[in-house]
Symmetry: C2
Subunit: 217 residues, 2 copies
């Protein structure tokens, strides 16, 4: 029941032998930098290995496949962000945002690092192919977790009357996740779309509604 990150689930296989795990994390840290800088562009196993300073076979010693490495990189980047957020809050920073605002904030931060959004899109697309189990399992679980957290948050807000309750919380959760993902892509392709403004407009759409108008026929 610790509020602390419960030691970030290891995506790869071997390890659990302290030393190996440490080296693994080191590789992930460096790989993340590669993606941050160059995006998912020329990120073959050999290029990543070269940037890290090892042979490509060495990477496969820690990860079963290129796909598994990529998923691990994304998961690691996400965990880093979560840890940073937690640390910031621990220092007395603003309270955890709820519902829509948390997504809007995360989205804005995401597009500052296009390489990671690129990686995310690539892996989600891969998850739809029957060949890539690793991606599918990771993103199925991730979507379910995020939707579930948002649903809970929305349900609470519906009960205390801070948002409308004439639309199921589950629908709102799925919609907000979809909108956030989709808008980040649209923004990367055409920065004239107002990412933050559009996401904040969702808050307006969610404002509490008056009961059904009795004057209506």
């Amino acid at each position: 029941m610790l509020s602390r990150m419960e030691s970030e689930p290891v995506i790869g296989r071997r390890g659990a032998h302290a030393k190996g795990v440490a080296r693994r994390q080191e590789i992930l840290d460096r790989a993340i930098e590669v993606f941050r800088e160059r995006g998912a562009d020329g990120t073959s196993l050999r290029r990543i290995a070269e940037a890290i300073g090892v042979s490509h076979a060495a990477l496969l010693h820690y990860f079963d496949s290129r796909e598994q490495l990529l998923v691990a990189v994304y998961a690691h980047a996400e965990a880093q962000r979560a840890a940073a957020d937690a640390a910031r809050r621990a220092e007395g920073a603003p309270l955890p945002l709820r519902g829509v605002d948390s997504m809007a904030d995360a989205a804005v931060k995401n597009v500052e690092v296009p390489g990671l959004v690129q990686l995310y899109s690539t892996l989600v697309a891969a998850a739809l192919e029957s060949s890539s189990e690793v991606s599918r399992e990771f993103f199925s679980a991730r979507f379910e977790r995020v939707r579930s957290e948002l649903t809970t948050s929305f349900r609470v807000q519906q009960e205390d009357g801070s948002i409308r309750d004439d639309v199921p919380a589950e629908h709102l959760a799925a919609l907000v996740v979809a909108a956030s993902d989709g808008l980040q892509i649209q923004w990367l392709l055409e920065p004239s779309v107002e990412l933050e403004g559009t996401l904040r407009s969702i808050a307006t759409l969610l404002q509490p509604q008056p009961g059904p108008d009795p004057r209506r026929s």
Copy 2:
């Protein structure tokens, strides 16, 4: 100003020489079937060529690259759907849907052919990479066109009072596109999310609002 499809823009290079164009369309028709059946799974140039009955080099005679072929396939599939819709309407079928309903309808039809959604996701992800100009140009233009059409539709509806007008039509358009794209992916990964119901919930969110409540403090 014809309402008819203006001869579907040719994505490839050569052609314009009648004969070549015909063969081209033939290849695209067959390639679409491959994607409909097997999705974007094992769709290397050689596999597609094999399914069609030619060598992979033959495909590259009509398309500069694999990416260009894939974009052409997607564009062709979309044009086919648009043509079918137009034909259906010409037979006195229901009038063109507006705004949200048109997107919801399209989304539901899309997920019936997972292979095409897969192809779409793959190409959108590719469009984010600086290496693939073809995808980026196609999808940048596509997003802009769809957003623009939706914006116009929403603006009209705002003026005649059928939807709320306290959120910019541009925001609504971008949101609906994003929600539709994102939900299709979520549904493919977890069919328990209610694709159609969730998309229709957007209509509820867009219902006209009463003016600001004067009783409020």
